[in-house]
Symmetry: C2
Subunit: 692 residues, 2 copies
């Protein structure tokens, strides 16, 4: 359940029970105390925050040793594992274990961020946009944000600074991270056990997944980075009813969208996303049957597509519930009535709902055209677009660039562009051709851009020619173009057909994006800020903001739930996994498990569920006890938790985690990974770089 | 745009402008007169009705010569053309033309119905259910309908009698048809021109499709059937603004669903259908790339899936329009207020809305389980289920059988079961395995039926074993089992794995169906009847019922429309088709057209659009002028017309037809089909059976 990277511009609801994805600078100590006793100290919070890290691609993780060992999910390292694999040696299938430090292999394209400081920049950002017209709002705010971020990192690539819009623009905080880009793979089990049960069991519980991987952060000196703050391992197994904290980066929630926005999600966004992902899934599954190599090369994409599809279906289902939707309509009505009854509030904020509703109607009208920006897909096309745009963006002042080309974003962009990641011609051609076909479908064969760029050729023909004819597979070539800048890139456009294609649709794609940024996003931001201020005035500030893929902490307890008359117990065991094994994908335990069975303690807790309030992006989050020690590793939510995008329901929304005991038992007895066990338990000597 | 076979239990809206799918026994003469002058006489209506025929599989058609020549769409004969094709001789690709009568080839599985009589049986059906409890309503009504139908056909297989529920159960008419099952293929062009522009252009206009086929009705004597009533060909080409009638069988509309039902469609039914069809499409498209034979064998299914997907997306989009949806909410409120203000009406009908809303909530709860009834797909499985059920149903009284096994439905059921239609092992296995996988997904791997029936095996394994192991491919074997009845079928279940599989899930599938029939459909029917009566009392009876895949007539005129600022002209020409030709699928004109180009009149009208109110099921409908002469052949609607399911909008809803001039020009100059041209123009001698 990697983040879906939803737009999240919104204010959080008043929090009840265990609900709440709290920012680290606003932990609800009083509320916590009323239910669970003594709240965490500031030192505790600082320690857990510094040991919680973010994988920039969309996951959470934690540092679990002083030598930079990082625990996250298998599915958070899936891309790295796949990039390191070949047709001959498939680590996705076989798993990976670096027996010694020197065997740890660099992930081509992984960035890890450690949040070292949060500071309030609300006044500066809001002052910059004060009195700005709708259509200019987005540009002005973007420019000020780019400025603040640049000042913060001040040219130091080892820092990453992000201005985060919280409470729908009611508050802006500057998040300062240490940025690490030398991340090496240490351990990953076989996909068959990391994702046991596959898509059928995804978001289900009971569950039997060892969805774990370990990577290590290396410093610029090529040695394991040292961390003072790392999470210790709990010596005691967590059990039903135990208090649990989850510290991670929920990707996005939508708990205080206006009704007009909810209607857009329910009626337009999700049905369209479902149609696209479902068809893509059908294509990928059937493509995978062509050959083992086809299956291998499409697997990562298939995983993301199936995961997203299931998550979105859950979100759509939450909005399709008439009672739930009616409750949101009523809540808006109540809030609005309160605002309208107060002349000052009415004057200042009363028009915000209609402003957003009008923007949503524009979004309906503009979304098809946006396919030019979002549609064409593939590794090569992605790089081509990045280069084509860099030729233009590099000549602009920082504040006027597209957001992903601002100075503070460049290190991540370059890492992706320069990464030595494999391109498989057959899959690349199939996938790119597929997306060209879908783009034509969305815009219509008579759309002037389609006519101009596709000409008489079929999407499959174009894809074949472009993939075959492009030199962008070579990461050194890509780097040379980037470093060569505008002149060199423009010369290459004349000879490389993928660059030429990206260039040919670029003006129209940019225009489609600009229109939505100016007329929809900007207007929603501007009015969202008004709604946030109204909300603070009416409800108060003792609440949490919607998720924004930034670090949050929440608390809850290990607990099952009731499904109709059925009680779902909160902790599964190894025995259950062996019972569920059919020997057929996706219910096939790997050979390593079958072989190790006699040695395993069958009563070992395997997966667990808890009332922690999480969502996509929280994957890889550590689950810790009152002492801040690891008791689990979050990797999923249950099906009802998918509705948590729109509102948390403690009766049945559950986070799903690997139990810490399962990790130790498997590492030790199945994978012979004693050096990791020792390191996380703090019982062994720390590894030295280069040590065999 | 074959019918989607939607449930249609509903009352039509008051008709404005050209709106209205009128039953032949309620033509709105006064309304017509006010706009278009002298209305059709009863003789005219009787004549056009008798010349309009229905293809039982889901299309419309017309008799266009005294010797039973029938004109319909290519896509309405697609199944027949495919069944007559082989890997060596693919008539879908090459087209088909019987140079002489003796070359006309029997379609394995086509039934044509001619509506000869309509009689009112409202009192009898409504009296039978009077005072019946919710849960029994469906059974009691079904039994009475089966009785009426059986009395009507009285054992004569050449008659087909259907009781049709109109106005949501406010009126029941008995439709008596002559049934024809010896239908032979006469002519079909290449798919490339019948469906020029493929899925991208489907439901679009301007359009350039020759979506036509001709078949001939043969009598039991093996000779062409004689028809006194057939449509003559117009000597004059229809032009912009001309009055047009369309006579055909719209499959289903939903123009007076209650708001609770509309919410179900918008939030549950369509998003789920879109997800299923989209993924199926992705699978089929990629499967088709395996080989030319894979492409050929999957083509028919792909066509239906893409067509349905596009149609459903259009319907979903109509409901997603906030203004439209609000108008339906308001209309219901107004209607309900009127009912509630009148104490008598309130007492008799006031509870109907809530009754339907409660049934819809049950439908939400029960729909997943219904996958057992709807899910598994494939030719062999379909036949297996039919046989397994026949073993049980054949021993029941007519009125207690599942509807498709009642006496009046048996001839069609047998025709399908005994048809010599090809089964392609590879596609059958792929498709059946795919559907087993999806059924497991919908119900969950832990569902008791899935555990019991699938066991540890994967869906692909099961499909392979069952397709390979079944003898049901042999139509003689199927017939012998059917004729052998319960005993013979039960013996075969022990040896044929596909029969055994169908048997294994049957009890649960039936239970899932029964629950929905009793607790949802029955309740909706019962309350629908109340709403209809309320509607007649408040609004009157001068209206048309929702479409029910029975014969309707409507009128309109040839007219373009405005899309934003763009005027869409209503008639295209041959020249436009040649301009649109790219030489690449699906925009590739066939060789026959390229070769014939010098002979063709480029200004020949090709396709046209009109304001006639149509929907899926109208495919193949004749479009006639005031004299009842053919001026076009309906094959599609434009994109906005898809919303016509929920309400007709004359400003942009358009029927799309092949112009009669295009048919003559192509038959004559491209296909050398002079004998058809002569026959439909009435200028040649009628063909004799067996004549070479």
């Amino acid at each position: 359940m990697k983040t879906l990277l939803c737009a999240a511009l919104l204010v959080g609801t008043a929090a009840f029970a265990d609900e709440g994805m709290w920012t680290y600078n606003n932990f609800p100590s009083a509320k916590f105390k009323a239910k669970y006793g003594e709240p965490p100290t500031q030192a505790w919070l600082d320690h857990v925050r510094l040991a919680s890290v973010r994988i920039a691609g969309g996951c959470s993780a934690s540092v679990v040793s002083p030598d930079g060992l990082v625990m996250t999910n298998h599915h958070c390292s899936h891309e790295c594992i796949e990039q390191l694999s070949t047709a001959q040696k498939d680590f996705i299938k076989s798993g990976f274990f670096a027996k010694a430090g020197a065997d740890e292999v660099k992930c081509p394209d992984m960035e890890i961020n450690q949040l070292v400081e949060i500071s309030d920049v609300t006044k500066r950002i809001q002052d910059a946009t004060k009195g700005t017209a709708d259509a200019k709002f987005n540009d002005v705010q973007k420019a000020e944000i780019a400025k603040v971020e640049k000042e913060c990192s001040n040219g130091d690539d080892s820092l990453r600074c992000d201005v985060v819009s919280l409470y729908r623009g009611g508050k802006f905080d500057l998040y300062k991270y240490k940025r690490y880009q030398d991340i090496r793979l240490v351990f990953a089990p076989e996909l068959a056990i990391a994702f046991f049960g596959g898509d059928p069991d995804n978001f289900n519980f009971p569950r039997y997944d060892l969805d774990v991987s370990f990577v290590r952060i290396y410093g610029k000196d090529g040695k394991p980075a040292h961390f003072d703050d790392y999470l210790k391992w709990s010596a005691v197994n967590a059990k039903d009813g135990d208090l649990t904290f989850v510290s991670g980066n929920p990707g996005g929630t939508s708990r205080l969208l206006t009704v007009a926005q909810l209607e857009y999600d329910r009626d337009v966004k999700w049905p369209n996303a479902i149609a696209k992902l479902a068809e893509y899934r059908g294509f990928l599954n059937e493509y995978s049957k062509k050959s083992p190599e086809a299956e291998r090369t499409a697997k990562k994409t298939l995983f993301y597509v199936e995961n997203a599809l299931k998550a979105i279906k859950g979100r759509q289902a939450a909005l399709a519930d008439p009672k739930f939707f009616a409750s949101r309509v009523q809540a808006e009505k109540d809030f609005r009535t309160k605002v309208e009854k107060n002349p000052k509030l009415k004057k200042d904020y009363g028009a915000a709902w209609d402003g957003i509703a009008a923007a949503e109607m524009k979004l309906r009208a503009y979304r098809k055209e946006y396919e030019l920006e979002r549609g064409p897909q593939g590794e090569l096309f992605g790089w081509a677009r990045t280069l084509v745009r860099w030729a233009e963006e590099s000549g602009k002042p920082n504040g006027e660039r597209l957001r992903e080309y601002t100075d503070s974003r460049l290190p991540q962009l370059k890492q992706g562009l320069f990464a030595k990641s494999p391109v498989y011609d057959d899959f690349e051609t199939a996938q790119f051709g597929y997306s060209l076909d879908k783009t034509r479908e969305e815009l219509g064969a008579d759309h002037p851009v389609i006519k101009k760029v596709y000409g008489p050729k079929s999407p499959a023909e174009i894809a074949k020619e472009l993939v075959k004819g492009s030199k962008l597979k070579d990461e050194k070539y890509r780097q040379s173009l980037f470093d060569g800048g505008k002149e060199k890139i423009e010369a290459a456009i004349a000879t490389d057909p993928m660059l030429a294609f990206a260039k040919a649709i670029d003006a129209d794609a940019r225009a489609a994006r600009k229109r939505i940024e100016d007329e929809v996003e900007g207007v929603v931001k501007k009015n969202g800020e008004l709604l946030a201020k109204a909300y603070f005035a009416v409800v108060g500030t003792d609440t949490y903001p919607d998720a924004t893929f930034t670090l949050r902490i929440n608390y809850g307890k290990i607990a099952g739930w009731k499904e109709g008359d059925k009680e779902i117990a909160p902790i599964t065991t190894f025995a259950g996994a062996f019972e569920r094994n059919t020997g057929r994908e996706p219910f096939d335990l790997p050979k390593s498990w079958i072989d190790a069975k006699p040695k395993l303690a069958m009563e070992t807790p395997f997966d667990l569920c808890s009332t922690n309030d999480i969502i996509g992006g929280n994957s890889g989050s550590p689950m810790v006890n009152r002492a801040g020690e690891v008791v689990g590793l979050v990797f999923d939510g249950n099906l009802p938790s998918l509705g948590g995008d729109y509102g948390f329901d403690e009766s049945n929304n559950r986070a799903v985690a690997v139990h810490s005991a399962a990790l130790i038992e498997a590492l030790d007895k199945i994978y012979g990974a004693k050096r990791i066990v020792d390191e996380i338990k703090g019982t062994g000597a720390a590894p030295k770089a280069g040590e065999k």
